[in-house]
């Protein structure tokens, strides 16, 4: 089983998801089976994490020729960059089966399919494999929001689907361009991601392909101003799906940029990084300020999540080891803080039957455990030292200072903007007097406490002792940055040096 551990993680959920859709199994049965599959994936993920050597190269590689004429193969593997995205997916996924009851069994099946597709996209080492799983990822989300969403679910579904597919098509065109360029330059057909890094892509087509790819990933992340699908989709989706969208899928967008765009389009990236960085920080401020005007707490958190994604994306564009490591670390940290907050809000809505912030109050007195857990996740999302949120945010800002001081100052405002809306939310929901909606608020049950406790502990451990995690990420990030700088491309090296993007004095 362990030789094909990644394939198991990909195809077990996919196949079980499809099979359960057809087989006559009751809703609860599906839920339990789904949980079991998610736990299997989790165990496999932990195994991968434990066995990963931290060298910086691809490990757990599986390769199988698929379309030989075009050099397409089923090729998966994990390195320091994908490891943490993979862990975020594997660790957090079981929770969605544990917490909320869904309307029908198809919901759970869709979740399983989403899990398989996400793991596939994360582990893919071949462009075609990546693209296929990337597209499959959207399908379950389409069905879930369309079938089980809130009142405006149809509009939200159409928006997210068309938005994403439009981006994906741009990416498809870019992928084809890259593969053809590989054929022209080397005479060999291949879609292997690692091989694309050695290409020299220049000229108008390269820029167009770069823009195409960035559109696809920018929409998924989402990067300002492509975020407009997000508030609707996040608000209309059921909580567990919002959680997946925010905690995992958005991260796959970030991961895609690191994995595909940065190594392949290094010249274009160096040239346009500043624009993208501005997109990141403007998005972070824009969404952060928008959050304070929201009356609906789910929508507020949606904007908050978009705001955080701005700074996470910024870490890539700064193009130094600190910022990139910060981004990779923040991928998990953000999933455990903002992602978990979505689940908490789900519990809040389930018990008070309202999403209106002004209708609430005094929950802290009724539910101290809930309030404490919420506060810890909230502070982590604000980036308080001692929680997971700080390390990543600090590293990104540190990297940004090196990259561009204006960007750094704007990125730093996240420190202030984040607390503004979060404290306001906390005040209106947890403090002040309780009212009729919250008078009978039940605290987390022992079961729920146990479900959340590992994540809360993870938040604190990642904040207090992050070095074991960093040690696994850092070599890959280092390699990634170095690869860009030391490629046989004097023109690029010169340009990078001129623009002060990379100064690797020590190597």
């Amino acid at each position: 089983m362990f030789e094909h551990i990644l394939s198991v993680m990909i195809f077990l959920p996919l196949l079980v998801g499809v099979a359960l859709l057809i087989l006559p199994v009751s809703k609860n049965g599906v839920r339990i089976l789904g949980l079991a599959v998610a736990v299997v994936v989790l165990v496999c993920g932990l195994k991968v994490y434990a066995d990963y050597s931290g060298g910086g190269g691809l490990e757990f590689v599986e390769k199988l020729n698929w379309i030989e004429g075009l050099g397409i193969s089923y090729h998966v593997g994990v390195d320091g960059i994908s490891l943490f995205v993979l862990m975020a997916a594997a660790v957090l996924f079981p929770m969605v089966f544990m917490l909320f009851t869904a309307k029908s069994k198809a919901y759970y099946c869709n979740l399983l399919i989403a899990l398989g597709a996400m793991v596939g996209a994360i582990a893919a080492a071949d462009l075609v494999v990546f693209y296929i799983f990337w597209e499959i990822m959207l399908l379950p989300i389409f069905f879930i929001i369309g079938l089980y969403g809130g009142e405006n679910r149809i509009a939200a579904t159409i928006k997210i689907t068309i938005y994403t597919i439009a981006g994906s098509l741009c990416m498809l065109a870019a992928l084809v361009y890259v593969a053809v360029a590989h054929h022209t330059q080397t005479g060999v057909w291949s879609f292997e991601i690692a091989r694309m890094a050695s290409l020299e892509l220049q000229g108008g087509f390269a820029v167009a392909a770069f823009v195409g790819m960035m559109l696809a990933f920018g929409i998924k992340i989402p990067l300002f101003p492509l975020h407009t699908w997000l508030p609707e989709a996040y608000t209309e989706a059921p909580y567990s799906t919002t959680f997946i969208l925010s905690a995992i899928m958005a991260k796959i967008g970030v991961y895609g940029v690191i994995r595909l765009v940065v190594p392949v389009f290094e010249v274009e990236m160096a040239r346009y990084a500043i624009i993208l960085a501005y997109c990141g920080v403007i998005g972070l401020m824009y969404c952060g300020i928008a959050a304070i005007a929201q009356k609906d707490f789910k929508r507020m958190l949606a904007f908050s999540s978009a705001s955080h994604m701005g700074i996470i994306a910024l870490g890539i564009f700064c193009m130094n080891v600190q910022a990139l490591t910060g981004t990779l670390f923040q991928i998990v940290a953000h999933a455990t803080s903002t992602g978990i907050l979505f689940l908490f809000l789900g519990i809040l809505e389930e018990r008070t039957e309202t999403r209106h912030i002004d209708d609430l109050g005094g929950v802290a007195y009724k539910a101290p455990v809930f309030a404490t857990f919420f506060a810890i996740a909230m502070l982590a999302s604000c980036g308080l030292p001692g929680t997971s949120g700080f390390i990543g945010e600090f590293l990104i800002i540190l990297g940004a200072v090196k990259f561009n001081m204006v960007i750094a100052v704007l990125a730093g405002t996240s420190v202030v903007i984040g607390v503004c809306y979060m404290l306001w939310l906390f005040q209106r929901v947890f403090f002040e007097e309780a009212n009729s909606k919250t008078a009978n608020f039940k605290d987390l049950s022992a079961y729920e406490t146990l479900v959340f406790l590992p994540v809360i502990i993870l938040i604190l451990v990642m904040g207090i002792y992050p070095q074991p995690f960093i040690a696994k990420i850092e070599p890959a990030a280092q390699k990634h940055i170095l690869q860009m700088a030391t490629q046989d491309n004097p023109q690029l090296a010169e340009r990078l040096d001129e623009s002060g993007l990379l100064k690797l004095t020590n190597d």
Binding site: K159, Y163, F224, P225, T228, W229, P231, Y286, I289, A290, A291, I292, A293, Q294, N320, V321, Q322, T325, G326, G362, A364, Y365, A367, P368, V369, T372, L379, L384, P385, G386, F390, F394, L395, I397, L398, A400, V401, K402, A408, V409, G412, T413, V415, V416, V419, C420, L423, Q427, F431, E432, E433, D443, Y465, P466, Q467, I470, E474, A477, Q478, N506
Partner: protein, 639 residues
């Protein structure tokens, strides 16, 4: 040598209160709604951590004292916190003369406040929560003080910010209290932004050789002047937030919303002194950037002036004390700004005693009067509360700068250094502020304790507070009297022990000014005290009626409308911008490209609708036309 300077118990000093916070917090969290535990248990648990920390602090002090003056420090690296590229941050702690001095009074006064709180908070439904927060607060402050390197310091730095938020909004059922807490946290975070940026710049400038204080200090000479100035100013932005200086002082007076022991803790032992400590800690940077020092000094002394003006017109006893803290912090910054780091730190040290004393004394008064805080409703309490009266008198004398008490020596040292280091303007304002300090301090004192009772009913019920509250007062009063003698300058026959003790940690040189200058400084300070106190006695000593504020007094009572100004210029536009995004920007501008493309599709659809007539035979005609064109085309091309 390196081995001997590594110890293993430093981490325990902050850890003890933190563990206490965790234990109490968990106990409280899981039992408060079902079976609340006894206050006795929480009280014992609550003081255990601080007491152990104090003992360890004293142990550290004596061990450090036994070392030779050169290289007098202990350090402990607990683990590598994170290591990315050249950035190597260790979870490390450093005990050198500066941090140990801070450590001593922080643990000591913090512990006293813990004991006092047992009495003050008795009967509160969230007794356990209070002690959890209090322990967390102390633990964070100890991290801040003991940290070896700016990043670890930032943990404590933010930790105290968080705890101040939690404690200020402790009575969280009242919206105003929570708003005060929010304000404190947000304003602090604005400062923290400066700190993070300054810290990052510092790393890129000289941090690659190690990001702990000793390495930074060694590499500081490599710093470019402009870079050094930028770093110092950014770090100072952090300090203005944490230590309530212009323009970020606005949170501290509102922080009075919390329980009184919290005010004492924030104002005396923890939190607000952090900024001064930070500047002193980075003295090796500030000496290289005299311009930054001048900015610090002037911001400090102007804050002192502004707060003293506010303090003269307040009627809430805690607000008077709050502004006095802001004002005294201004002195401290003036001290570290004029490169008299030891004088600034020494004022932090003496201030801790008398300010804690004043707050706890005020708490005792407030308790006795059933949470009455308006000084115009007090009066004549001298007879009812003798211990509180006498201890408060000592506190007031020390704060006002009465000769021979602690506040006099430390404040005088700062003013003298300002003069000696070439900042006569700072000195002049400082003397003026000293007179104002004496005035508002005794205005409060006379109104509270002298004259006749203004509120008979409350007066009738007033009685002296219990032992657990008065004993800390007495201990602090002793400190407030004698703390100043630890750093007696040569002119009074002393040896400046504190300055010598701190010499190993600070980079400062001591100017040799003329005796005349020193005498001038001393004379001016004494005169300022005498004038201020005398005016206060004349106006309020015999009982006075509450005046109607007019003109400038009204303007000052309303704090120059600074809060309203910030609200109108920052808060309101910020919210309005948020609302504008929500209402117009998001749906019509940022979403514009999406709406536009969908509109385009609709238009194209409308245009092509004409061809969709619905009759099969018309479609057949289209087909025929199409086929005909196709065959025409093919026949043309094939030939």
């Amino acid at each position: 040598m390196e081995m001997e300077q590594t110890v293993t118990y430093l981490v325990l000093i902050p850890l003890m209160p933190l563990v206490g916070a965790l234990v109490i917090g968990l106990l409280h969290m899981f039992t408060c709604t079902t079976r609340p535990l006894s206050e006795r248990l929480y009280g014992i648990l609550g003081v255990t951590g601080p007491v152990i920390a104090t003992i360890l602090a004293v142990k550290t002090f004596f061990e450090l004292k036994g070392m030779p003056e050169e290289g007098r420090y202990f350090s402990q690296k607990v683990f590598t916190w994170f290591n990315v590229g050249e950035l190597d941050v260790a979870m490390g702690f450093l005990a050198d003369p500066l941090s140990v001095l801070m450590l001593l009074f922080v643990t000591f006064i913090g512990t006293l406040i813990h004991f006092y709180s047992i009495g003050y908070m008795a009967g509160d439904e969230n007794f356990g929560k209070f002690f959890a927060y209090l322990n967390l607060f102390l633990g964070s402050m100890l991290i801040l003080v003991l940290a070896d390197g700016p990043v670890v310091m930032f943990v404590g730095w933010e930790g105290v910010g968080l705890c101040s938020y939690l404690l200020i909004s402790f009575y969280s059922k009242e919206r105003d209290n929570v708003l005060a807490g929010n304000k404190a946290f947000i304003v602090n975070r604005i400062g923290d932004l400066g700190f993070i940026l300054g810290m990052s710049l510092l790393f890129w400038a000289i941090g690659s050789g190690g990001f702990d204080y000793l390495s930074l200090r060694e590499n500081a000479s490599a710093l470019a002047p402009g870079m050094g100035l930028a770093i110092c100013l950014l770090l100072f932005v952090g300090a203005t937030g944490k230590s309530a200086q212009i323009p970020l002082y606005v949170w501290l007076p509102d922080a009075m919303a919390g329980p009184t022991p919290v005010s004492a803790l924030i104002h005396a032992a923890t939190m607000v002194t952090a900024g001064v400590y930070m500047v002193a800690r980075f003295s090796f940077l500030y000496v290289q950037a005299p311009l930054a020092g001048a900015v610090v000094a002037w911001v400090g002394i102007l804050t002192a002036l502004l707060a003293a003006i506010f303090g003269m017109f307040q009627k809430d006893i805690k607000k008077v004390l709050a502004y006095s803290t802001v004002s005294q912090l201004g002195y401290m910054f003036a001290g570290v700004g004029v490169a008299a780091y030891s004088a600034g730190i020494f004022h932090v040290f003496t201030h801790a005693f008398f300010k804690a004393l004043l707050f706890l004394g005020a708490g005792s008064v407030i308790c006795a009067l059933h949470h009455q805080q308006d000084i115009w409703k007090m009066g004549g309490l001298k007879a009812k509360m003798p211990t509180t009266y006498w201890t408060m008198l000592i506190g007031c004398l020390a704060l006002a700068g009465c000769p021979l008490l602690s506040g006099f020596f430390s404040k005088d040292e700062i003013l003298y250094m300002a003069l000696a280091n070439g900042y006569p303007g700072v000195w002049l304002v400082g003397v003026l502020v000293a007179a104002m300090t004496a005035y508002y301090t005794f205005r409060m004192f006379f109104l509270v304790f002298h004259g006749s009772a203004r509120d008979e009913e409350a007066y009738a019920h007033a009685k002296e507070s219990p032992k657990v509250m008065t004993v800390p007062l007495v201990i602090l009063a002793i400190g407030a009297v004698f703390a100043g003698y630890l750093n007696l300058p040569a002119i009074f026959g002393g040896h400046q022990q504190v300055t010598h003790w701190l010499a190993g940690s600070l980079v400062e040189h001591h100017p040799h000014a003329s005796l005349g200058l020193e005498l001038l400084a001393i004379a001016a300070s004494i005169a300022a005290f005498a004038i201020g106190a005398f005016i206060a006695y004349r106006k309020f000593g015999q009982g006075a009626e509450e005046p109607e504020f007019q003109g400038f007094a009204k303007f000052a009572y309303n704090l120059f409308y600074v809060d309203q100004f910030y609200h109108a210029v920052i808060v309101r536009p910020y919210k309005a911008f948020g609302a504008a995004i929500q209402r117009t920007l998001e749906p019509y501008v940022t979403d514009g490209h999406v709406k536009l493309s969908s509109l385009l599709y609709q238009l194209i659809g409308q245009a092509f609708k004409v061809f969709q007539v619905g009759y099969v035979r018309i479609y057949a005609i289209y087909m025929v036309i199409g086929l005909s064109l196709m065959s025409l085309f093919l026949s043309q091309t094939l030939n």
